[in-house]
Symmetry: D2
Subunit: 104 residues, 4 copies
């Protein structure tokens, strides 16, 4: 999972780069709604790939979701560590009663 | 990022457990469309949290996306490693030309 | 299609009603992000119903999309007439070249 | 709302036309997942336009949702009349208790 650590470092570095220099910089320059839109679209495509696509398509779309989630979080100044800490917190409290802890 | 490794192991173990025993087992018992639906919904909520929610809400929704993406992939027999390998592959090829490699 | 006209009238009337009096009033009281979230969720469910559900499910989810789109527009002060006028405008201009007019 | 009636007639007619002849024919030729994906994407864009866009953007995205919902239903052989009948049914039964009838 070092991949995500490297991805986050790369993304953070490119956030404020010249929009012409990378996809991340170009997307970020379009603003938060544009980044959020990409996350939503890639999630829809992941849903569709899971229901009617190949394994290769699912892997590709899942990668797109992780990539754009990382960009969105970085653009908002939220680290993946914060998200992992939240997952750990749930796992910790949910050892005995996972379901009660997840009410949605 | 050991969090995701542990999460995937836990999820995989619970996939075929008694539906009454955990949220993952209960969700999986409802079938793939139900899991996919949760991923789509959590992505929409992440989009909304990024645009109009608090940092705490964004962290929570992003955790929900990672959680349900992990469940969906596990239910399809796809490992997070495969997705990370795809992200690595893109990073590798995109070192020189990230943008050309990402055509959307 | 008088259905949509009646639906819009009912929804508009209930927007500012006592939250305990109707679903529309209750949803509106939660704020725009909550309404937008419902639209996004119902669209995801429509996608899933189209790919892996019954005709009855698809009809139900499509009705949910139209319902929540109507609520969202009403909450923003946008009328269905404005949306229909936009569709008419596209149809008018796209008689000869529908595709050029729709660049996505 | 004659707009939707005309739109549905146009869409139905173009469903099986030469893919090169219109956007609808081209999209339909790509298959149901491609149509469903467009609906999902336009719904995400409507959510974003409602939260952070202009009125003009919201009108445009809502039109995109109605357009692609119409294409998706037509591709599945479901008529808008069926969806309107479902909305009427809910309205009829929900006069006294709208909320109880809508459990999501």
């Amino acid at each position: 999972m070092d991949t995500l650590i490297r991805l986050e470092a790369t993304v953070t570095q490119r956030l404020s780069a010249d929009p012409g220099s990378s996809y991340v910089a170009s997307l970020t320059a379009k603003g938060l709604p544009a980044i959020a839109k990409k996350l939503g679209e890639e999630a829809v495509e992941t849903v569709i790939a899971a229901l009617s696509g190949s394994e290769e398509e699912l892997v590709g779309e899942a990668a797109d979701v992780l990539f754009h989630l990382t960009v969105l979080l970085a653009a908002k100044g939220v680290s993946l560590d914060q998200v992992m800490a939240e997952l750990d917190r749930r796992e910790g409290t949910s050892g005995l009663d996972e379901k009660a802890n997840r009410n949605r």
